[in-house]
Symmetry: C2
Subunit: 118 residues, 2 copies
Amino acid sequence: MDEMQALDALGALSQETRLRIVRLLVTAGPDGMAAGAIGEAMGATSSRLSFHLTHLEHAGLVQSRREGRSIRYSAAYDALSGLIAFLMRDCCQGHPAVCTPAVAALAACACPSPEPPK
Amino acid sequence: MDEMQALDALGALSQETRLRIVRLLVTAGPDGMAAGAIGEAMGATSSRLSFHLTHLEHAGLVQSRREGRSIRYSAAYDALSGLIAFLMRDCCQGHPAVCTPAVAALAACACPSPEPPK
DNA sequence: CTTTCATCTCAACACATCTTGAGACATTAA
DNA sequence: TTAATGTCTCAAGATGTGTTGAGATGAAAG
């Protein structure tokens, strides 16, 4: 991810409705959700929702596919991890004061670590 | 870091000038840089620079202290790591597809890992 | 083909953001 | 005090963003 993509992604995520959409789609899994279901969960009108979904798609953070009458949106996991990696690489140059606590916080969350302790 | 702080931080970073200022200040170290030196590095007028620095300070991403005639700005490392941790926790709930590659990308960068292999 | 359903597109408006230039404020030196 | 330096504040204008409502499009059912 280059700087321009990162700026787009950051801008897309810096809006309450869009951040919540991404959160919803990440937890929804790779199959994603139909636009209607997202709108219901967000309490958004169809045109408002369409505006934000288009914005997120242009920023590369979600992807869409038609399925019958509805359109399913799903999180672009690679773009999200790319953004986080960009922030860490960009911030961490010689300064682990940023990355070390961030990774430590991740270890304390429910996610499996890169090397699961199985 | 809660959602509102994260939105502020994401919005602050989603602007080219401000993202570059943060990058500059992170690499400048804890002592930071005087506003004038930042402006020179960015090629920005004093009022434009002041606008962006104030924006970043309100978002909690930088801090300032007066030093003689000049004002030194420095990166708020804790806020930056807090933002990254927020993104990972928020994105990673049950979905290591985001966090695992991000942490792996970090390991490939010049930064010391949380458990240095010394 | 017509209807229905799901979603998108468009124009309009309000509001926020970024940039600029002029000037104010605070700090130091003469 | 006066002058010089470094930075901030303010108002104005251009541009960008988010919301709404009305209507268009596309897909499936009758």
